[in-house]
């Protein structure tokens, strides 16, 4: 189990226990975190699980592949630290990860 913190746009924090290999999206859905809709179920098709990765963690995550980068390009309110949480898997490297949710997903 790893530590994962998801911060809603409102500032409300969710401190979660995440299983090894599970995506940030699925961990959030399982914990009923509002703001992660994940309509396509993690197939990188909808961008309703968009999040901003805390600066300290960006370099420690696997970089986005082209399908994810394409989706993010025209997502609402993209930033340099934007990721799709369905594509982020929890690993020893991401233990302690902190992500924030965008305004469009309130």
């Amino acid at each position: 189990m790893y530590k994962l913190t998801i911060i809603e746009f409102s500032g409300k924090e969710h401190r979660l226990e995440a299983e090894d290999g599970k995506s940030v999206m699925q961990t959030a859905v399982d914990a009923m975190v509002p703001g992660i809709m994940a309509d396509c179920g993690g197939s990188c098709s909808c961008a309703t699980c968009h999040c901003y990765v805390d600066e300290a963690w960006i370099a420690r995550l696997q970089p986005a592949e082209s399908a994810e980068r394409d989706m993010l390009e025209c997502a609402l309110d993209p930033q340099d630290n934007s990721r799709l949480s369905c594509q982020l898997r929890m690993t020893p490297q991401s233990d302690g990860l902190v992500v924030r949710l965008p305004k469009s997903q309130v």
């Binding site: 699925q26 859905v29 399982d30 914990a31 009923m32 509002p34 809709m37 309509d39 396509c40 179920g41 197939s43 098709s45 909808c46 961008a47 399908a67 394409d70 989706m71 390009e73 025209c74 997502a75």
Partner: protein, 415 residues
Amino acid sequence: MRRDDVFVVIGAGHAGAELAVQAREQGWPGRIVLVGNEQALPYHRPPLSKAYLAGSASLETLALKARSTYDKAAVDLLLGRQVSRVDRAAARVDFEDGASLHYARLAFATGGRARPLPAAASGAESASNFHYLRSLGDVDRIRTRFVPGARLSIVGGGYVGLEVAAIAVQHGLKVVVLEAASRVLARVTAPRLSSFYEQVHRAAGVDLRTGVQVDGFQLDRESGLVTQVHCSDGERVDTDLVIAGIGLLPNTELAARAGLAVDDGILVDAGSRTSDPAIVAAGDCTRFHSALYGRSIRLESVPNALEQSRSAAATVCGKERIHDSAPWFWSDQYDLKLKMVGLSHGYDQLLLRGSVEERSFSAFYLKGHRILAVDTVNRAPEFMLAKRFVAERIPVDPERLVDDAVPLKSLLPAA
């Protein structure tokens, strides 16, 4: 709403699972019961014809939500249970095993089932190598014969048929697709898209035949297996495995027998209310008026099921959440990510942007200057923008639309 009020959700697919958990999040104070007729924890259906069939996704990864999520939301799961009747006068759900449940509010999320193949009535349906593809159980059975070298006949060139064909040919099966219409995906896309997908499948090694009606099956008397598919043009296709995917029938019988208004779908409004104020419905089993298209529609779509469920959960909790988003769909085949938004019915012009040869293009279905629908192939950024053009009915200049040098984003009105 009182603490002893029970909310019963019939159907544990995408719509039902979302509805039950959302109702708790929206504030339902009493018991919530989610009833499903399969044993498995509610699961993602789209991967069934893709990653799960290919063996690259495990059963665990298919779960829509973890079991602990239902515990956390205090949703009682009644899995592997069949509802036999809804008695609205008594506000009661009866089960086939004789049990029953009283409800204060009820939801139908009964989904759909595979449309039966008329030619299968001759006995093929009981053969252990003849399958429809709708449930986890279907795919588990298919997988026992889904082996390299096997001769697979797919009846129907729709999304399910073509997704299976792509996985199968990559898995080393010998694949024949038999489509009755003159082209694949005829119900959902323009001829240009159909011919593109036909060409891609043929290049991958699929024996794809259009304009071919299946009118019967040869069964081996001893094994009971289908050995040949009979086509109306006299063609006989030797086969080890048959998968039929010719569309979906909404599961409306239970609702109709209960006296709810049903017309090829349980009729609901934008708040997912049925003709009975105590009952909502969501997902593939419903039909509703689309404000965007000005007509009644029934969708076979995961995003629609989820959106409608969120509206239904709000309604049940005495809130209002209008459902009127632009419908969207996706289909992954080979390296092609097809994403579609809107309904193209009634278009008068099809415009292409990008390069079909380079497998990166978008097809716009226009009526005048309005974009009714867009199909994008390997163009995710344009899909994201297309959702806005369709949902917000943003008029476009066709000449600029087809110019790939003009960023699509620049055609949006200035904020």
